[in-house]
Symmetry: C2
Subunit: 166 residues, 2 copies
């Protein structure tokens, strides 16, 4: 049996990773910033699945590649990747997840499944519009927002309804 709990949808994940890495490399070139080996490896590790990854897990995983890696190694790479908009920090998990919309500067919604732990990013324009109205009402100028919803994703809900073999 494959790991269907983690990558439930028919999903070519290496395509997923490749797209993200290729685009990141391209954007770095355009912006004149360096996607160094460490930064690229961290980005690749984050994209290993659609979970939110913890900094110290990344540290363990990068050590075979970068034996000198220390916490600062990881946090610096994470800072860079965040500045470039390649990843998001999931505030409610102290963890990090790849951004799958590098082109547009959308602020987004993160749907975090408690069961499979996948994090789905959605643009949710209607939510953002309602938020903007709310800011106007409150006289608030928004700079940055974190919208994180914990629950059960569609795939897990479905698979939970499939009769179990007991």
């Amino acid at each position: 049996m494959t790991d269907s709990a983690e990558l439930p949808a028919p999903h070519n994940h290496s395509l997923c990773i490749n797209t993200a890495l290729t685009l990141a490399a391209q954007l770095c070139t355009e912006r004149g910033v360096q996607l160094t080996a460490i930064r690229q490896q961290v980005l690749e590790l984050i994209w290993a699945n659609h979970h939110a990854v913890k900094a110290y897990d990344l540290l363990e995983r990068i050590k075979p590649l970068q034996s000198a890696a220390k916490p600062a190694t990881i946090y610096r790479a994470l800072d860079f990747l965040r500045e470039q908009g390649f990843i998001h920090r999931v505030e409610s998990l102290n963890a990090f997840v790849g951004c799958n919309d590098l082109k547009s500067a959308h602020e987004q919604l993160l749907l975090i499944c408690k069961q499979c732990e996948n994090v789905e990013e959605r643009h949710a324009d209607s939510v953002m519009q309602a938020l903007t109205q709310e800011f106007v009402l409150a006289g608030f100028t928004a700079h940055h927002q974190a919208i994180e919803i914990h629950g059960i994703c569609a795939t897990c809900t479905q698979s939970n309804h499939i009769p179990q073999l007991v």
Copy 2:
């Protein structure tokens, strides 16, 4: 000059605190749970202003009252207060703020001012409705949500426009 940056609106803050504490005490009685001295003191310290307070700051502030206080003392009180819905955790700040809507079970929006550090809680029904629609679209069952917006509040925006005496 008074501390107008922290409590900018004409605002009877002791009323604010008293209301919160009285209501919390009442709800605890109704629910058959204990609002012990420690828990009440922590709640009171959180309500000292409208900032998000860090756990270790609370620890320092409660020591004059509870000389035996240790991290676990604070975190247990915080757990209790959260379970009862008396406070919110601000995920993006690792900090805690009083809930000013104890009666209704609204999930809410936190508007966090970078300048005065006040946290304003808003119900934002339109945002929640848009969110609910988004969940339906995504087939997602939401259990808990954190919506945290960082920016500049109305009061600070106004006072920033007042010509400075230089």
